[in-house]
Symmetry: C2
Amino acid sequence: MNFTEELKSLKDQVSFDGRFEPPSDFNNMVIAGMGGSGIAGKIFSEMYDDVPVLSLDDYHVPGYVNDKTVFIAMSYSGNTEEVITSTDEALKRGAHVYAVSSGGKLSEMIKDTLEIPSGLQPRSSLGYMLMPLINTFLQYDDDSVERTISLLDRLDTDNEMQKTMASEIIDGERIPVIYGLSPYRAVAYRWRTQFHENSKILAFSHYFPELDHNEIIPLKSTYRKDLFKFYVLTGGREERNDRRVRVTEDVTGAELRKIEPLGDTLLEKIFYLIHFGDYLTFHLAKLRGVDATDVSTIEELKKKL
Amino acid sequence: MNFTEELKSLKDQVSFDGRFEPPSDFNNMVIAGMGGSGIAGKIFSEMYDDVPVLSLDDYHVPGYVNDKTVFIAMSYSGNTEEVITSTDEALKRGAHVYAVSSGGKLSEMIKDTLEIPSGLQPRSSLGYMLMPLINTFLQYDDDSVERTISLLDRLDTDNEMQKTMASEIIDGERIPVIYGLSPYRAVAYRWRTQFHENSKILAFSHYFPELDHNEIIPLKSTYRKDLFKFYVLTGGREERNDRRVRVTEDVTGAELRKIEPLGDTLLEKIFYLIHFGDYLTFHLAKLRGVDATDVSTIEELKKKL
């Protein structure tokens, strides 16, 4: 599958009906995953708050994990060392452990593994990772899923705007900085990492309203300000934060390019914003003449560790 | 108090014996605070994991907050709108609410408020905010507290190295990027925000091992790589992460300046790293000829909101 086909597979992944069978009486949740396999947990932790949800991207399992914990291990390869280490510990603690992977050690370790198709880049499997969380703990009606698929299809068909935006980045060799409003903080981080992996450039992210208490100062007066290109993922949960975006622009004079999600439900909006960033970073890779699928640096690291 | 005196007051703050009186049967904790008043909760959430701890830097209170929640509101001024909003909601949910502030609305709203001295910048009151959390939920022996004070005093007396490092940033108008290892992720973020508020320049942060799954790629091959100055706060909980730092340097060819904390206990190490960053960013402000205490951009924003 080439990378364009990978991108286009996202809309099919939204129909994935995998789900977990958690016990009725858990009181906290840990979703372990690194990089492209960790982003689903980070996004989900902003969508669901009936119990505390930790997106775990390290080796260390918190002391509170026990038999009241739902622990979901996500690793596309099934062999990510941080996830294997933490999952092993979670099993010892008696947590209810589930997994999503395309194979590897993880599916041998965990009986309740949702097996997903192999052959993708881990970061291109976000739908397969996110939908089981949504299907199990949130549920959206079929209409919302259908509309999400339409929105993604629309981006697959027409992404000229993202191409134009990519050319604005490459022209001045700009450094993208993406700001998210709740519940799009993790989507802003997703954009950052797609710039890393697809476009091979450094990019950064932060979020409102927190940045109004610190980053707003250099937004006004940093050196090299023209080098940066600022994006804000708007239309979040609190209208107050949208007002903050406008006043922040006013006070700092910084140009914050606002990306307003299409769609009615959170499901549509989140997938729209995700896919918007997918195409932006993919076009930037093409314009830079780099291979969006090349992750040899990560492979070399894993070999040498 | 001038800013040098503010910095020097940190070592006295470590002796602050304020503490909360939480109930015995809580099962999760939320620490609400923004910017300079939010950093204590972020740091603490990496030190303590007997129950899930959320560092809340937004308006929205998670659905799970109820009478089994310890909710600690931190606002130096006592008037931060996000914190007032979330605290109000936490009270309605029946949470056990405590506060730390130097006055304002918060101390009127919350009977159990630890009043701390006024007259500091919020970010200079980190000791007053962090120590009550440590005193209540972690406890360190007096020796460790004494050694922490000595380490801070040492930095107050000799910070020539931080001045030299600041000059390396200003010379090329570099962009600092700080990487933290657990449990120094939030300290890396603290450095970032001190660059923002003290030095008035954009700076960014990320953490190991997560960055080995994404940011490592542009660390090798981004454009404008020479513009950045990378720091790693090392000597964390997992030796495996220290190995990752070395291999990441090897694979990417990026120069990662390692900052190794002095001290034996986590208390000493964390305060040492914090104060190291305080002086680095303060010297950078002086070298840039900007006023480290000037936060007029934030004040203007608050007025216009």
